[in-house]
């Protein structure tokens, strides 16, 4: 298979093989180089091109569709090698500049094209980067390969550099690119030639300058202004280009690094996700967590894949923007559409996964269980924590240093127990336990609520309440919670221990005391709600103080255990 180009030769369109094109172009360019414009170069070239077009037309009439290099070779045989143009033609003074190249055959003349940096995928081992650099400098690529391998030892810089070069350097695809990749060998002869051409250009410019100096001054001023203007324009252009390049570079680095991190994150098996709590750390596998949350493995992968797409697409777009700004290399056609498509797909996948999961939380159900405490020996009830030995659990209450949950042996332990104290009209105190859960329908939510394992224990006048509950991992986490309500008839008293600081929740009381200040106290149920005798006493004392003596300042320092009063006279 070969690439075909369409060319216009002498006003006629031809399809020509890529390599045949290279040969023909070099042939014409070489001949063109032999003439000065004063000698009617353009006309000669038009004549030659027309003749070639005529001959090619004849060839095409035989039913051929594409011109190949054999056709071009045949035509060159008829038209003559470029050297023939010199020896046969009008050169009274042979031009030294071209007699050099006339010693080569014209196929070597294509080496006069300037050398460019390409990746040589044909002779390369990985991406052809080293081979390309080798061609560029005319050095055996083995040295560059060794350098890259060595630099890998330095924190893998070689790999990073190689990837960047791989992206930047275009691949030599066509014959023309392959030729210009190899370019012209850098010899003294060629350097001399280049210098000579440079000198000629400079001379030309000087002679032009002389001519202009003779011209009238107005013209000079005008051209001077023009020059200043174009100088400013070029400075602005340069500044904008520089800013663009810097931005492009930043885009590229930023996008590249995050994408790299994302890819590493995806392909590195994430074993543990850590929760930090106090000085301890607990780790769970991603699979364990996703099993708890997502209804099925499919939902997990849907959501995760969609989410990754959502993040990766803007990053890739950023990288493309960066390369375009930095190297002017346009991304492949339809890249934008493809990226947008992937992004929308990401949204859809995330939405499907998210919806399917959120449905699992749509219905709420609770189961209530009431125990009447009619065998209490006294009017005072003591609340306490049910310790782990009593319920034979390895889980230890964190005393408010709550971790979201803990998974062990297929059991999910959650510290989400709330205790409230309320008033009741019945004769005896009552203990109500409400287990709550969510599910995609009520029966499922009911089932989950029922499956909650939660313990309380009543021993004489002490009620032990577990600060956590457990559910089976198979039940998944569906926002299960436990609420314990202690209903007190008027006249009964309850003692809230210090350990209840994080368990009691929003208990209404006469003093409007916050939960955390309610512990370590007795609370009695009165007609006007829960009252603390201790706070009553304290307030009474303060009111007396205020009424009697305004010159005394009392500072109350309340600690968890005692109350100190400092009286300043």
């Amino acid at each position: 298979m070969k690439k075909t180009l369409t060319i216009n030769l002498g006003g006629i369109v031809f399809n020509i093989d890529d390599d045949a094109f290279v040969v023909l172009k070099n042939y014409l360019d070489t001949i063109k180089g032999y003439f000065d414009n004063s000698e009617g170069r353009d006309e000669i070239m038009t004549d030659i091109e027309s003749r070639i077009a005529e001959m090619l037309t004849e060839k095409m009439n035989g039913g051929k569709e594409v011109i190949n290099s054999n056709d071009i070779s045949a035509i060159i045989k008829i038209m003559g090698q470029p050297e023939d143009y010199i020896s046969d033609d009008m050169d009274e003074q042979p031009r030294t500049q071209y007699t050099q190249s006339s010693q080569h055959t014209y196929t070597h003349a294509n080496q006069t094209t300037s050398r460019r940096l390409f990746r040589d995928t044909e002779s390369g081992n990985v991406g052809g980067v080293c081979a390309g650099i080798g061609h560029y400098f005319g050095v055996d690529p083995i040295w560059f390969r060794m350098a890259f391998v060595l630099s890998v030892l330095f924190l893998g810089t070689g790999i990073f550099l190689y990837i960047i070069l791989w992206i930047i350097m275009p691949e030599a695809r066509t014959s023309a690119e392959k030729l210009s990749m190899r370019g012209e060998p850098v010899t003294f002869e060629n350097i001399g030639k280049t210098v000579e051409e440079e000198m000629k250009n400079v001379k030309k410019k000087f002679s032009n300058f002389d001519n202009e100096a003779v011209n009238n001054t107005a013209h000079n001023v005008k051209s001077g202004l023009n020059q200043v203007g174009s100088f400013l324009v070029s400075i602005f252009k340069f500044a904008f280009q520089a800013i663009g390049k810097i931005l492009g570079f930043l885009f590229l680095i930023f996008g590249g690094l995050i994408l790299f991190a994302l890819i590493v994150g995806i392909f590195t098996p994430v074993d543990q996700i850590f929760f930090e709590s106090g000085s301890d750390q607990w780790g769970y596998s991603l699979i364990e967590l996703s099993n708890l949350f997502f209804p099925s493995g499919m939902d997990f992968w849907l959501t995760i894949t969609g989410f990754i797409m959502l993040i990766a697409v803007p990053l890739i777009a950023l990288i493309f923007a960066g390369t375009t700004m930095l190297f002017g290399a346009k991304p492949p056609k339809y890249t934008g559409i493809a990226l947008a498509g992937v992004w929308i797909l990401g949204i859809i996948l995330t939405a499907i996964g998210g919806l399917r999961t959120s449905v699992e939380f749509s219905k709420d159900s609770s189961i209530s269980e009431v125990t009447t405490l009619n065998e209490l020996p006294s009017d005072t009830i003591y609340l306490d924590i049910l310790n782990e030995k009593q319920i034979n659990s390895s889980y230890k209450y964190s005393h408010g240093n709550r971790e979201p949950f803990r998974i062990k042996d297929g059991q999910l332990t959650i510290e989400d127990v709330e205790v409230n104290v309320l008033e009741t009209n019945s004769k005896y105190p009552q203990l109500e336990i409400i287990k709550q859960s969510r599910g995609k329908n009520y029966s499922e939510a009911d089932q989950r609520a029922e499956n909650i394992q939660f313990s309380t224990q009543i021993d004489s006048n002490t009620i032990y309440i577990s600060p956590f509950f457990t559910v089976s991992s198979d039940d998944k986490w569906r926002n299960q919670s436990v609420q314990v309500n202690l209903y007190l008839p008027t006249g009964k008293t309850v003692f809230l221990p210090k350990s209840y600081k994080h368990i009691i929740y929003d208990i209404k009381n006469y003093h409007d005391t916050y939960d955390k200040n309610m512990v370590n106290m007795f609370w009695s149920m009165t007609d006007s709600g829960l009252v603390s005798p201790k706070i009553m006493k304290r307030e009474k004392k303060r009111m007396d103080q205020d009424a009697n003596d305004f010159e005394k300042f009392e500072i109350n320092i309340t600690t968890d255990d005692e109350e100190h009063s400092i009286i300043i006279q």
């Binding site: 002498g10 006003g11 006629i12 001949i31 003439f35 000698e39 009617g40 006309e43 000669i44 004549d47 030659i48 027309s50 003749r51 077009a53 005529e54 001959m55 037309t57 004849e58 009439n61 045989k77 008829i78 038209m79 003559g80 090698q81 023939d84 143009y85 020896s87 046969d88 033609d89 009008m90």
Partner: protein
């Protein structure tokens, strides 16, 4: 001095004269001229003809007109200008003298 150079110099002068002779009688396009030159073994490759024709045209010796072609691009039909005709006549005289000189020289060498 190389023998190739001398050959080229000789051929060059004769080539121009011959081309002018071909065109003198009837106008021609380059391909026709080339086939005539090939017959007379004066020219091996076609490419060299075009610079020569252009140079003669620029010197005011030749002129051309365009004609559409059925097989390919339009063709240039060359013919002599009045200057060209005088020039060709002059060259004919020169050639005659040269021919005599050469014949004489060759006879002498025998």
């Amino acid at each position: 001095m190389k023998i190739e150079n001398t050959k080229a110099q000789m051929r060059k002068g004769v080539l121009e004269y011959c081309i002018l002779l071909f065109i003198k009688d009837n106008e021609m396009y380059p391909s026709e001229i080339i086939s005539k030159l090939k017959e007379s073994k004066l020219m091996v490759v076609e490419g060299t003809l075009y610079p020569l024709l252009t140079r003669l045209k620029n010197a005011g010796i030749l002129t051309y007109r365009w004609e559409e072609s059925t097989s390919g691009p339009p063709r240039k039909y060359y013919c002599l200008t009045p200057i060209g005709e005088t020039f060709t006549n002059e060259l004919s005289g020169t050639w005659k003298a040269l021919e005599e000189a050469v014949t004489f020289a060759q006879k002498q060498s025998k």
